[in-house]
Point group: C2
Chain length 346, copies 2
């Protein structure tokens, strides 16, 4: 691999605009420690995310140990991370007017993210929740009841935020929902029409298996920057080795940020490929949010003058913060943390 530090080119936008706008399912995470036996009994595949209906969700919740609740949602976590770094972030997602909706709205707003809430009508259901089971190896397994986020639709996407952002960040999970998939295509068109770039997370290797063709098509000009972990990257190209997946990304011409847990990350850019070490963590408690916060650091870096290597180092630090505690949102100021490590100006 060739080392490089050439900045990725971004569309030119006036200074006052947003760095990143995320689109995804607003969720409140309901987190409990679990053992492998419980995952088996519940029929959940370790490390994966499965969509469940309300009854299935209730049954899983009833089997779970005492929980803690923290606002979550993959793209929303990423936007909270961008804001915690001092970036200007926005988020678009659908919530109900209920307790969990209030919690989600409070938390993303308090994090400093401009939230374009799509409000569900009466009778549409409740705000989404994600049951997160964390095993002793710090792996997280998720059962998500999307609630009203299930009906996120093209009409919910307008250009109020998307015409103002340098990058629009899409959650791959949304491709599980046909109307949301259409909404994503609309968001891509609006963003590119306003001279912005589009980033996407592959979210989950099972999600990639379900939508491989859609995702591969998106690499032909729709998506400019892809976030994936090793499994997702390999699943996307049906690769037999990690190197094969890296080479396949390299051929597409998009920028790809591929995370490998403790082995760090590999950044593929048209100007070259570079590897960046993981930031040290004393004790890994809960890997939930690792990818989301990696994306936060990388997106903040790219939109705030860092080169890909500096962005990836910042990304690794953000991921390290979030896996050291339960919950997928930062529990400290990432801007201060990054400054203390010399990765950002104080």
């Amino acid at each position: 691999m060739t080392e490089t530090s050439t900045p990725i080119s971004l569309g030119q936008k006036p200074e006052e605009l947003l760095d990143v706008v995320g689109i995804g399912s607003p969720l409140v995470d309901v987190i409990a420690r679990s053992d492998d036996a419980l995952l088996s009994r519940l029929g959940l595949i370790k490390g994966s995310m499965e969509l469940v209906d309300l009854d299935q969700g209730d049954a899983i919740y009833a089997s779970m140990d005492a929980t803690l609740e923290v606002s979550g949602g993959s793209a929303a976590n990423t936007m909270a991370g961008v804001a915690s770094l001092g970036g200007k972030a926005g988020f678009i997602g659908k919530v109900a007017t209920d307790t969990l909706g209030d919690v989600f709205t409070h938390d993303i707003t308090a994090a400093g993210v401009e939230f374009e809430a799509v409000l569900a009508g009466p009778g549409e259901g409740g705000t989404g929740r994600c049951l997160v089971l964390v095993t002793d190896d710090a792996e997280r397994t998720m059962a998500t009841h999307l609630g009203v986020a299930n009906s996120f639709a093209p009409s919910d996407v307008d250009d109020a935020l998307l015409s103002r952002t340098k990058i629009t960040y899409l959650e791959g999970y949304l491709f599980d929902l046909p109307p949301a998939k259409e909404a994503m295509r609309q968001a891509i068109a609006l963003t590119h029409g306003a001279n912005g770039s589009v980033a996407m997370s592959l979210s989950d290797s099972f999600c990639v298996e379900r939508h491989r063709n859609d995702f591969l098509e998106l690499l032909n000009g729709d998506v400019d920057l892809v976030f994936a972990n090793e499994d997702e990257a390999m699943a996307l190209f049906g690769a037999k080795s990690f190197q094969q997946a890296v080479d396949a990304f390299d051929e597409t011409g998009v920028v790809a940020a591929i995370t490998r847990g403790a082995q760090g990350s590999v950044i593929v850019t048209p100007a070259g490929i570079l590897t960046v070490a993981a930031a040290p963590v004393a004790t890994v408690v809960d890997t939930n949010g690792a990818g989301d916060l990696f994306a936060a650091g990388f997106l903040y870096g790219l939109t705030n003058g860092l080169d890909p290597e500096g962005s990836a180092k910042l990304a690794s630090l953000c991921a390290a913060e979030v896996i050291a505690h339960l919950g997928a949102r930062p529990q400290t100021s990432l801007a201060e943390l990054a400054a203390s490590q010399g990765l950002l100006e104080p």
Copy 2:
């Protein structure tokens, strides 16, 4: 002070009964990091607990940073701790049939506590919540909206759990509510009538100031075991020094477990006074729950054959676990933790 290890005498109960039943306000804690400036702006006194109405609570919540939600309530935290140690615990408190009530009920039940839920009627209001602001010095400042717990009344206390327990544990906070105060007196009578002992936490030094005479009267035969921190102990007796408070407790004839933060604890018993060191903590994150979990360890120890010194060591370990993370409930099995430290049989 004289060292002692004489066990405290407890009423004789058949083996299958409960170790401890707690009575208190069921709350869900809504936790955020804060700075001193925000506490000042909100008019909150650092380290204290203040009762607020719904509007005041909403205004404080709107000013708070992104939160995490964890079941709380002082006596409920203690019961969760007793259960996590492997003890048989019960809890009595009033909740509404709403999201927070569901969360509280799920979590205390999942913790293994037998929950006698007093269910509010329609229109009585919502389940209580406690806004917890944690400053960088790990101190917690609380604004509690009791919700339906505000109307906990004597008719809510029956002997279903109280006739089966070795110890009934009362939350001092309840003395802020006239009907609950009466309910406490009824619980004391039921417990003593069934040959159990009564323990009480003094909860908060401002709470002690408000109810000093009531609390002092309770030491004349109503309460057998008191939990207090240094400030609360001194406030109770209007003591000018910590030693004065210890001597005053010694004269009452009740057992007193007095915590002093990093300075450990002092246990006053009719058989002598002993001091126990605090358990080491790498980083104190949030002192919320320190007293509650100290009480859990001590109550478990006393009801499971440990002497006061062994109980206090166990208590210190439980407190150390809970202050190392955000939230006032244990995040690991206290039984396993205690076994790993040689304080309980594996």
